[in-house]
Symmetry: C2
Subunit: 415 residues, 2 copies
Amino acid sequence: MTRPASVLNETLTADAALRARAARVVPGGMWGHLNAARLPEGYPQFFASAQGCRIRDVDGREYIDFMCSWGPVLLGHRHPEIEAAAQAQAALGDCFNGPGEVMVDLAEDLVAMVPHADWAMFQKNGGDATTACVTIARAGTTRRKVLVARGSYHGALPWCSPSLIGVTSEDRAHLVHFDYNDVASLQAAVTDAGNDLAAILVTAFRHDMGRDLELPTVEFAQAARAACDAAGAALIIDEVRAGLRLDLGGSWEALGVRPDLAAWSKAIANGHALAAVTGNDRFRDAATKVFVTGSFWCGTVAMAAARATLRIARETGVPAHLHAMGLRLRDGLAALADQHGVAIRQSGPPQMPLVLFDDDLDVRKGRAFCSAALRHGAFFHPQHNMFLSAAHGPADIDEALEAAAQGFRAVRELR
Amino acid sequence: MTRPASVLNETLTADAALRARAARVVPGGMWGHLNAARLPEGYPQFFASAQGCRIRDVDGREYIDFMCSWGPVLLGHRHPEIEAAAQAQAALGDCFNGPGEVMVDLAEDLVAMVPHADWAMFQKNGGDATTACVTIARAGTTRRKVLVARGSYHGALPWCSPSLIGVTSEDRAHLVHFDYNDVASLQAAVTDAGNDLAAILVTAFRHDMGRDLELPTVEFAQAARAACDAAGAALIIDEVRAGLRLDLGGSWEALGVRPDLAAWSKAIANGHALAAVTGNDRFRDAATKVFVTGSFWCGTVAMAAARATLRIARETGVPAHLHAMGLRLRDGLAALADQHGVAIRQSGPPQMPLVLFDDDLDVRKGRAFCSAALRHGAFFHPQHNMFLSAAHGPADIDEALEAAAQGFRAVRELR
């Protein structure tokens, strides 16, 4: 028996109404990684507002946010100092016939903060930055082969998209694959590339969707550096997802390994659209010669936001705070899982945690956990690494753990 | 004899000081099309503020702006209604874990305004949109060949960049070239693509740097449409540069030819970073299946700005105003050229004019004209099409013509 339309209308949420409208005018209702169709039951597709570590959906439900807009929100939503910097710049203008002084200031900030960086350039998407790194590496070496780890995400352009739909085999003609953290497979790929090795492109850590996160081993990082040095190729670290959360100088600083080029985006302007490439002097000429550009790439407002973001991140020691809050979350989740007799695996750096359930190939447990936690006010993700922000304090973590307790209860009640 | 450093320092402009700083931390001092190195003498690299049709450089010199940030500024810099809409959205938040209601509103606005559009998707760069169109066309046809006009600009990604530095031949493996407005060459390219024709990608009009602009002929537009219909391929119009200035429904509406897919960017949010793909129902499934995404693609602030831009553009009939102001400029320049005995060629739609000088292969005349006009307060470009905005009124045009008179005088005084 179908319910009469009047009843449906009365119970229709704002989110459901927007999904219905979107289904008519947006293919599939939403594109790419922001499509909520694959998220657990109850997850909203549409959001109305955000403040600090709290987000509010279009039905007025508020959640403690552990996705941080899939990474960009580093210091909390609508951080007052960052928004003030952005508005002060907007009052002068955003997009001109050329850059503003803020572009030079920001490049100087990055060069001062990132040890490997002798220069910086700016873009809008993470994929703009990874693509520019590859182009610069090829220009600088006059070679073609780029080594990438199987399953690593470097953007959604045809050369790197996780999907092959609409992509030609030529788009990936010169990629050579290896396995992350597997030195032997890296060296085999280097051999395979022969004297045509332009670059090794590697994410800051292994953060492939749906599998345990892995930090790079020192051996792996050093082998990548050594291979590039031996071949005169570029070591490119894709910092798009991890950048600024692990180490403000670059995610591999603790390993003692520095790249020639790095791609940054997401967190560098706390949610304002910006990306950057940093590079060393070996690749300065190449970066000068390539033609990479975009209509909005020197928009001053996002750069002003980035300067404020970097300054606050430096002054407040953001990675350490995120680490502490991530550990608090991790320890709390471990205790709760134990208490409920549910086996979980927590992986990755505490600043970007992933929680997976044992014996959960179909993600049934993960989805039940997330659905229940969501109903109790915590926005987790069942398969993708999550993100802490500087706006998460101990009380927020503890409140989220109460929601997580409901999640573990739901998992225990499965079957 | 070299001047002592003290004198140099005294005369150093803020622009020169910034160029010196930028040379240290930005490859080549600036990237891509915004690098002022190739502009005539006296052109600033760095800008401080803008309002309406006036821009101000970092040395406080003000110009009537005929570049409009290379296209994005459609209604004038810092348009109060657009900035109010952007700020109202920013007060709620910009970048969330999913889209805001404004994404649906904006998609509905575009579907209502653009006759070929049954749906819309959003990105950040014009190149994101052209790349998505090609990917969608390939996905929808399961073919590979894309026909593009020789010399047309579709972005700076490896598959379409005007530079081959750092680009591999495979990046362009499935492009087939034809000559814009040349039906026979188009048909030869179609034959060449055979049963592998995915799309014809064509700019709204021919706007290749340094050569006279050309509007598409009806015959050419109809031939492109017919070839796509016969082959089941996608006709893609690249509206990135021309979009909203010629016809709000699409630049080929007057020709009676509609595309299957169109790429928009630059002007659609009056300077806020946004791009869009519009498409018809033939390509809805393909657009649903491809994986295209970006961290900031559903940022709500740029979308709120776009809604305001489209509304004002509709309500005030922006293309007609730009046309009238462009004609006033064109007529004035023609009269001045005649008066000074200097032969010029004016081409393209009046909304996006180009002025070239006869017998000027080295652009010596064009540069002398622009340098002198710049000193008298008008920011023209010697080789790239320019852009009118709704903020240009008759008095601004007349004032710019006085600066142009100084430009013609400078040309006459050459040799």
